[in-house]
Assembly symmetry: C2
Homo-oligomer: 418 residues x 2
Amino acid sequence: MSIAGMITDMAKEGKLASRELRNLDRAKKDAALHLMAERLLEREEDILRENAKDLSQAKASGLSEAMIDRLTLNKKVLQEMSQGLQEVKALPDPVGEITGMWKRPNGLLVGRVRIPLGLIGFIYESRPNVTIDAAGLCFKSGNAVILKGGSEAIHSNMVLAGLLEEALREAGLPPKAVQLVPTTDREAVGILLGLEDYLDIIIPRGGEGLIRFVTSHSRVPVLKHFKGVCHVYVDEFADLGMAEDVCFNAKVQRPGVCNAMETMLVHEKIAPRFIPAMCDRFTHAGVEIRGCPRTLEFLPEAKPATKEDWPAEFLELILAVKVVSSMEEALDHIEEYGSKHTETIITNDYARAQRFLSQVDSSVVLVNASTRFNDGNQLGLGAEIGINTSKLHAFGPMGLTELTATKFIVYGHGQIRS
Amino acid sequence: MSIAGMITDMAKEGKLASRELRNLDRAKKDAALHLMAERLLEREEDILRENAKDLSQAKASGLSEAMIDRLTLNKKVLQEMSQGLQEVKALPDPVGEITGMWKRPNGLLVGRVRIPLGLIGFIYESRPNVTIDAAGLCFKSGNAVILKGGSEAIHSNMVLAGLLEEALREAGLPPKAVQLVPTTDREAVGILLGLEDYLDIIIPRGGEGLIRFVTSHSRVPVLKHFKGVCHVYVDEFADLGMAEDVCFNAKVQRPGVCNAMETMLVHEKIAPRFIPAMCDRFTHAGVEIRGCPRTLEFLPEAKPATKEDWPAEFLELILAVKVVSSMEEALDHIEEYGSKHTETIITNDYARAQRFLSQVDSSVVLVNASTRFNDGNQLGLGAEIGINTSKLHAFGPMGLTELTATKFIVYGHGQIRS
């Protein structure tokens, strides 16, 4: 069979499965999640054997250390994956929630109820643990999912998808609720993106190249996250000790993730006191500073920032630093170069804090806290499937609730329109 | 200047205007809406003169009577348009609503607040009153909008857009908050669809051809409504008098709209009593019946339904009728041929009513009420900008709230991640 035929068949079967999932009781879903979590631990040997195939292929083809690290499964990682499924099991089921109900003048009782999205296409790169995370979240929220992982992880993903299917079967649920595209052929992605009659939504997770490809080719609606160019603005009225701790955390704690700070904006009034001490701490932690001309007055040895640095998502220990004359200038800078992801103000001024919160058009806007808190778990949504930087559907981190929609239900007694 | 250059400039200016609209107080928006409503009445003469140009061109090019009717403005239509703006003015402002707020274990106070989407591209056909409706809704919800109307209405739309701009200026607000693409060139649509860096969302409103074109070419997320193939299922336990009234209303009251019934499903147990009387009433109202073989047993003179009739959106006085052996068969039929728009069950059986509400995957699902109630106004959302039949963002009718997103705001006191 052609790849197109195979993937279309998967989509048809996924759609059928999604119909069964639509009204599944929480207890049944949780029982299946529990089985999945158990199978992950029981099948350790098989999983590590398949993962070893991916690893030796990765080494042979010269993948970077970082990539190989992301690809590697071991007992500890499997335990975390299993624990992740148990945590999703423990989260409330969003499906069936009535988000509002009201009576119309003609007696119609109108309500809005949460329903699953239907069939999700999830396209991702590298890490095989994402296979489990995504499957768990989609399933718990009542969605069927077709997973298309990276080719480097194909053996790992196949064995993982196999045990998920087994657990579904054992739980008496449609095994096609979670399917993995069993090929490394790149054509597969393009085919998925064209199946608008079966797929309700596509969620890509990976580098900017993958995301751009998906967005420009998909006929199915896409929830996506381009990049995180996150800013901390250290205001004139900041507590400088707090500013130092927050900025350090935002840049250094985990520089390779989307909610790490990439540009620090510093008000000119406190720049002479703040920048030297702060950047000394950064330099000791191995952070390369790229400064605007005014920053370089305090740090003559730092590298000058180029115009490419302001919109850059470095994802490593590099930080762009700019001195601004006013909060307005900081807001303008964020408006021009930001990615609508995460921005923080450090200030003790009430009015400025409120103004920053209302004027910054990002998915998460914080006062006096690290950008690293833009995360479903940290914000209290539970596990997340990704962060959406388009405003459509769910702006910001997406947990279980964000994998649902609402429909209207109407209780009448014969009403007609006149 | 090229069309591409012109439209890109409009998008840049619209984006700038959207930043000013983001935090506008309700009082200011309402004052501008009031001015717009007044200008519409004051400028009647200019508007009708420009509308006459469109009408004479339409007649010369042989447009259908129905199209010319939709294109025609007069005193009464202008009064309704003005009244529509006053009604939008009276609706609550969704922007700034805190939809939830909670405290995290580390003391972070996390909230979700409603914000405008940003810059909306609205692409529509024919009716010039839509220019005013769409502008009013987008503006009240804090969004800037670029309107691209049908070429038949270009003179009418230009004069309407002109007075909206005037009203904005007079209210001291950015005049580029509402812009109309001042050309009939079809290339303009394609250009708009590619401006993903400026536009936050595209809403097309028109025939299926336009919608398909927009969906398959847009790099900007699209909220769309393909078609309404709405069903009424008359259950074995229906009150047949109520069933007759609801079905008649759903089909005949306004057959040319998306929430009119297109297929009637009838349980076999009541078919012998229900179908002859019901279809007699339909036939007297000029409705053409296209029946399944079992329907034809009761209506030997009716036309047989072909397989094209089941997924058809007739939008006229034609009705497909099918006898089903069970509610399951009705649900399967809706699943296969429905458009996720609107479905109704007529029944007095409690369990069946509840099962229909939970199992039908449509934007509005009703018990014992006409499909014609799928409408923002009728359901209590206020005026609507359209009905979304994809589950993303807002499934069903979209009012002011559905033209917003939410962002997270976080109040901290120095929290960092460990």
